[in-house]
Each structure stands twice: as C-alpha cells, then as structure tokens.
Amino acid sequence: MPRANPLESRARLVKNQTLGAEISCLTLEAPWIAGSARPGQFIMVGCAPSQAGAPEPLLMRPLAVAGVEGGLVSLLMAVKGRGTRFLAAQEPGAELTLRGPLGNGFSEPKGPGLLLVAGGLGAAPLLSVHRRFRKRKDLKIDFILGVPGKGFESLVDLLAQEIPDLQVFSDDGCMGAQGNACTALPAAPDEVWACGPVPMYRALLDRLDPGVPVLVSLEARMGCGYGGCLGCVVPTKQGNLRACCEGPVFDGREILWHEFH
C-alpha cells in the first residue's frame, strides 16, 4: 500500500547551463522521475557535498520540473542561497540525490483557452505545462512572462525560442513591454494557471473576474516533501494544507492570502 516506486535516488547531472549570472538550467538523468512527473510537480534536490559526514546543508531544496525528455529531467533554477549556489557550481557528471516526483501538479486543462502567467522563475513549472499540452489541437495556450529586468535575458530567450507567441513584460521595459505579468491580462480567460511571487497572485486575483478559475503554484519551505513533517502548510479555507501533497498547486481563491507569510 505504500507508494509503489522508490522516491529517492542518485542522478547524474548531464548538463548545467548558465542563463545569466543568477540562473541555471540543470539537466539530470532521472528516468524514474521523467517517466511519471506531471506538469506542476516538483522534486527535492540534495545540496550537501557527498563526502561522508553530516549533511550540510541539511535539507533538500524543492525545484519544479521544468521539462522531461526521455529519461532526462530539466530544472530552471535561480541561485539564491547556499543550496542553489552549490547546485549551480556542480559540473556535468556530478551525482545528486533527487526525491520525487512530488506534489499534486496541475490537472488536465479544461480548455478551450488556457492562460499561463509566470513571474520570474515561476516560468519553470509553466514551461512544463506548455511543453506537455502545446500540441493539443483543442487547446489555445497563452503564456505571459513577467521578469524584473536585467539578468533575465537568457531565460526570456530560452522561453521565446520554444513559445513563439510568448508575451514578455519587464519592470524596466528592457525586454518586451514595460510592466509586469498582470499589466495586460485578457478580459476573460477560460482558465489561468500561475506561478510567481505572492504579490503577483494577489494582483491576478484582484483583476480577474471572480468566475475565472485560477490555479496557483505556491512556494513554501519544505522539510520532507512527502507529507510527513507538516512544515510546508499553506493556510486555506479548508485549513492548513501541505504544499508538498495537497499542493503546490492550489485554487487561488481558496488561499487565505492575508495569513500567508
């Protein structure tokens, strides 16, 4: 009755591509994840050097699956603190511990339209949505990406290559139009899936018609990733729910935003 497959295993880093100073695209050989991950699911990545001894940093880092191809899994990662700095410094051939796939992920789009709204690295899970569903004839996907500005050029390029009609906004206008991901929302999208910072979600929910379904992918500090520690909970109308099990994708209108740290 326990989960059928092993959750955790070592995986070889196949490629580590630098997208500007503070963003990396990691490609890992992890067939057990690639074979089953749904868009919006994530994995935990170990960031402690493998020399025996105490793991430091102790906790694995949650990162969204940005794409799968054959047995390969790709991640789009901002370099923030010591865990992501460690990962960004790894060279191809290095072995990392991966746990996953984790979380609920997005469901099937209802169609006929799907609007994806990404803020910064929130592009990662939405890219995997786009990659999965772009070929569906009965679905029209729009993708809006908002970025702060300088430093995000390569990320924007990477997405623009795959997504011809990508709409880009930047705070300073240096890429795409000036503004943010919510500057030019369509009047009445059929459905919105979003990933980005909390202020983006609030703006989104403010501006959209209350009837439009909005799914958001939330970031919370995680301990285990598999539903054991209750460290990752998000305040919702249904109570405190685990971002690693009941999430990270939630109905945006169910979140108690004023309680969300």
């Binding site: 959750l7 694995m60 500090r221 301990g223 054991g228 520690c229």
Partner: protein, 310 residues
Amino acid sequence: MNSIDLGTDLGGLVLDSPLIAASGVWPMSPALWPQDTLPGLGAVCSKGLTLEPRAGNRGIRLWETPCGLLNSIGLQNKGLSHFIREELSLLLEPGLPLVVNLAPESPTEIDRMFGLLEPRSPDLAAVELNLSCPNVDKGGMAWGRTAQGVASATERARRAWPGRLWIKLTPQAEDLGETARAAQDKGADAVVAANTWLGLALDLENRRPVFDRTVAGLSGPAIFPLALRLVWEAAGAVNIPVLASGGVCSWEDAAAMILAGASAVELGTGLMADLSLPGKIAQGLKEYMNRQGFGSLKEMRGAARPSKGA
C-alpha cells in the same frame, strides 16, 4: 553476517529492528509512505495527537541551522477521535508496529485521551506520551521540565492505560535522570530521550523572531552529541528500556546510542535528509556487530558503559 538479528526487546515488545520513525516526520497515511524507508524500520510513530483538532502554528514552521533544523509545527492534527475513526486502521494495514504519540494539554485530557484509545490498546505497540513538545502553550514541555510534572502525568496515564506506556522526555528538564526515574517509578514501560532542544532564530531583515512563537525546537545532527549524553544519563538512571531520539543520521550514530544503553533508536530529521537511512543503518549495524563479535542487540546494548564494558 546478514544472519545477525537486529531484533530488540522493549520490555516484552519485540521489534524486528530497533529503528523507529519518530513522531512528526512520517505521513499519517500509508499511501504516502515512501517505500525507500521501509526496509530496516521496526516501527513507526504517529504525529503528536491532541484531544481536539489543532491547526498548528502560523507563520514559518521550519528553519535550517548549521547541521540542524528548527521547527515550530505546533502539533497540527485532526484530533484523537478523528485519528481513531479515520486513520488508525489504515496505519495498521501495512503491518508495521504502530506507536501512537499523545500530547494532552491538561490532566483531565490525559484521562480522556487514554480512555478514547483504550479499546484499541491491543492493536498498538505502545503509546508515547509526549511531555516534551516545545511548540505549544499548554501541556507538552511544561510537564516534562520537572520530575514532579513527569511523575504526575505518568501516574495519571498509567491508571488510564492498560497498554505499553512510553514517556517522551524533554532536554529542557532540570535533570533528565530525575525525570526518567520519575517516569519509571510511576509505571512507565520505557522512556524516550528525548525531544527537541529549545532554540531561536531571528529574521535579520525584518528584525524579529522567525517563528511566531519566538522559540522553536532544534533537531538534526547538530544535537547528536547532546542527545547521546541524555541517553547515557537516562540509561544510567533507570532499568526500563531507553529509546534514543536526537540527531541520528548514520549507523555510527545509531551504534553509539545503543552502546550508550538505548534499546531502540528513533529517526526524525535524518529521514528528511535521506529516505534510505533505516536500510543503511541496519546494514551498518550488522557489519559493526559482526566485526565486534556482538551476537545480538542485547549484548551490544550499553557495552560502552563502565558497569558493562571492559
């Protein structure tokens, strides 16, 4: 060598392995159990349960520290009745011995909670009475700090509970040996040394404590040398089995706990960092016992203590 038996006898309760998933780190639904973790595990503990449902603490609940983890979960759970009705049978299905961790908030809650659980007593390996949670206002650590507090809670639980009763002690006790003895004197079947250590983290940018309740409990490898000392003290103070809890994340750590006198070893934060930890520890222990000529855990237990060792 794989013939070495890791079975351990906890005062009549025999587990196939001395390794137990500690309270608060293991999903309450077997559908979520990572199968990586099962080989090597002798039992699992439930999340700390209260009489009434609890939403747990607000705000940030986890904070990483050097080789450690601060947590302030605050005993989020759906309440004991819901547990008995909806979760208990499911948790028993996989066949792993189940320990239920109870965190009453008052003396009368002790009576009521054990009363509710009593009909299921034959199904449970033990109840672990949590007198040590640092993350709640009522109950928890307040009891565990003094021998008197432990004595009165244990006595009350003992009267209400026919099954095995373990007392989970707190490192914040004035004197751990005393609290362990108090538990033994009032009829506990085992003591668990120990829960998390009271710590603090500050948010430098916002100049305030990271956690809503200011303090939080420290676990993980950082506390291992401290927890080992507590196990040493507890095993010197009582004759009932001592279970170790604190920072174990390698077979060496588990071996040290057993040499110090532990009959079983709980794995908490270590599991978060490595799902295959129980299997690795079991393998490492067997190899070690083989090298050292220990035929059983019983022989190994306490072998570093002056009374027993060379």
